[in-house]
């Protein structure tokens, strides 16, 4: 029997609607569940004090700082390297074996579980280079982890800039470098920004890799060579060791809100930038 097109259309739309709302629903449920259990414990003292009794009491200020340090350093190191690699791959080489190998390498890197990165970071940065369990070891490990994301998203963004813009720029007497910095990057910036925001999110929430490289010290980090515990790791330790579920949820709430704020800030900045440009 033939189903009339109007019915199939209706069925398809409903199916997609149901599936889409299911996805969003699960996401909303998780966030709501954590905030429901955590937010009541997120007080001013929780945000501004050091943990006491292994985190059963007190706050998470050192973890907030540690997270900011590790994430900030990682992205600060990874972004220039990643964007430069993407520019090299798209604007300065012809497609060939070398670009294929670099791209393949980046894709492989993206698929490696974070615990492997952690192990590598532990062996290489912590032990071999003697950096110890420290913010810098953690940040460098995360750099390796987010690099493929930044390379590939930047590459896509740069590729999306129309070829005609490049022709125009060359036609107006620009060098390749001027064309890249003034035309291509300016147009690709929103896409590159998206990649960087994604890697900030990934860095903030990374647990396994930082546990093995940044350590889990509870004290205030003073320099990049101090060990520090990130929010995600703190949450893991609190729940895993059963120290305090309410503080674990509170930590998770702070984490989620931090990610949300970073995303909002990034999108706001990008919007402002795009509005100024286009």
């Amino acid at each position: 029997m033939r189903i009339p097109p109007r019915i199939t259309q209706g069925l398809a739309v409903s199916a997609m609607w149901v599936l889409a709302s299911l996805t969003l629903g699960v996401l909303a449920f998780i966030i709501a569940y954590i905030l429901w259990h955590g937010l009541p414990h997120v007080t001013w003292t929780f945000l501004t004090e050091s943990p006491k009794a292994m985190g059963r009491e007190g706050g998470v200020l050192p973890m907030i700082l540690g997270t900011a340090w590790v994430t900030g350093l990682a992205v600060l190191i990874a972004a220039p390297i990643g964007v430069a690699t993407a520019i090299y791959l798209t604007e300065y080489t012809r497609e060939g074996r070398l670009t294929a190998v670099i791209r393949f390498g980046a894709d492989c890197l993206a698929g490696i579980p974070s615990i492997i990165f952690g192990l590598f970071g532990f062996v290489f940065f912590v032990i071999t280079l003697g950096m110890g369990l420290s913010i810098i070891s953690g940040a460098l490990t995360l750099t390796l982890m987010v690099l493929p994301t930044i390379i590939r998203t930047s590459e896509e963004a740069i590729r999306a800039v129309p070829q005609s813009f490049r022709d125009v720029s060359f036609g107006l007497g620009s060098t390749r470098w001027q064309m890249v910095t003034q035309v291509v990057l300016r147009s690709a910036l929103p896409g590159i920004g998206t990649g960087i925001v994604l890697s900030i999110g990934r860095s903030i929430s990374e647990t396994a890799a930082v546990m093995l490289t940044a350590g889990s010290a509870l004290g205030f980090p003073h320099t990049a060579f101090d060990s520090s515990r990130t929010l995600a790791l703190h949450f893991y330790v609190l729940s895993r060791e059963g120290l305090s579920m309410s503080n674990a949820y509170a930590t998770a709430s702070v984490l989620i809100i931090a990610i949300l704020l970073v995303n909002l800030a990034a999108y706001w900045l990008m919007r402002r930038f795009v509005a100024k440009v286009a």
Partner: protein
């Protein structure tokens, strides 16, 4: 013993004469007025010839139209003149192109500076995703002009030359993409004029434009002719007839003929030119 020597000289003279006759550039300018000399130029992509042995001159202050059917090499020729073909990895060429007597493919040539001297307008208007003002000042800023008053003056004079000033003088800080297609193309023309070039290359600049915008561009070109050498590639033979001083007809990568526009259109030397102009093919 002087006899044989004289003989040698005479032979050598005759050989040189024959050589000169053989490569007599088809369409030469009056002595001393050639801006661009193309000498026996061939262009290849992946080794396949797209242009074959073109010899052609572009004179000072003239509008040279290049006509010919699709894939006759018109655009490749144009892009050879400002070395845009260099960007294609599979491009190669033989022969020479001289701008004011100097080989533009010479080893010491600064390609960016060359492209400022030979400005190009493309078939499709491509406003960069910035404001009108930024579009117009991009070229001059690349060339090192940063004085605001100098840039302002440049913007106004170029927009006036492109017959666009009155339409956009109050919206210079609006995105260039907001302009209509015809306005965008005139802005692209103004953007090239802001380079203060010596030669203007236009690659089917009116192919997507309405008749009124086309007329405005043609009017602008008629005035610009007093300052620049203009090479206009067009698919529209009527436009070539209206808006050029000389016309060159390209076919399958070869220059069939080149001469004063009136002569090419009323009394072409070659049957193929006549067939193309009268619409028998192409």
């Amino acid at each position: 013993m002087t006899e044989p020597k004289n003989n040698d000289v005479a032979k050598e003279d005759a050989r040189l004469m024959a050589e000169m006759l053989a490569q007599q550039p088809a369409p030469a300018c009056p002595a001393g007025t050639a801006k661009i000399k193309v000498e026996d130029f061939s262009a290849f992509f992946d080794g396949a010839a797209v242009l074959r042995n073109i010899s052609l001159e572009v004179c000072e202050r003239e509008r040279l139209a290049i006509i010919g059917p699709a894939s006759s090499g018109k655009t490749t020729f144009l892009r050879s003149l400002n070395r845009l073909n260099d960007l294609a990895p599979n491009f190669s060429k033989t022969g020479r192109i001289l701008l004011a007597g100097r080989d533009i493919y010479g080893p010491e040539v600064d390609v960016a500076a060359l492209r400022r001297r030979i400005g190009m307008v493309y078939a499709v208007p491509v406003p960069l995703p910035w404001t009108i003002y930024e579009n117009l000042t991009y070229g001059p800023r690349l060339a090192g002009v940063h004085s605001r008053s100098r840039l302002d003056a440049l913007v106004e004079s170029c927009l006036r030359s492109a017959f666009l000033w009155d339409e956009v003088k109050d919206r210079l800080n609006e995105p260039a993409a907001n302009l209509s297609g015809g306005q965008q193309q005139r802005m692209c023309l103004a953007r090239v004029l802001a380079l203060e070039p010596e030669v203007l290359l236009l690659d089917e600049p009116c192919s997507g434009l309405d008749p009124i915008s086309t007329a405005k561009i043609e009017d602008a070109l008629a005035q610009l002719r007093s300052k620049y050498s203009i090479v206009l590639v067009t698919n529209n033979t009527k436009q070539a007839a209206r808006a050029s001083d000389r016309t060159a007809f390209f076919l399958m990568g070869e220059l069939v003929e080149c001469g004063p526009t009136a002569q090419v259109f009323t009394n072409p030397k070659h049957q193929r030119t006549s067939d193309y102009i009268t619409g028998h093919f192409g």
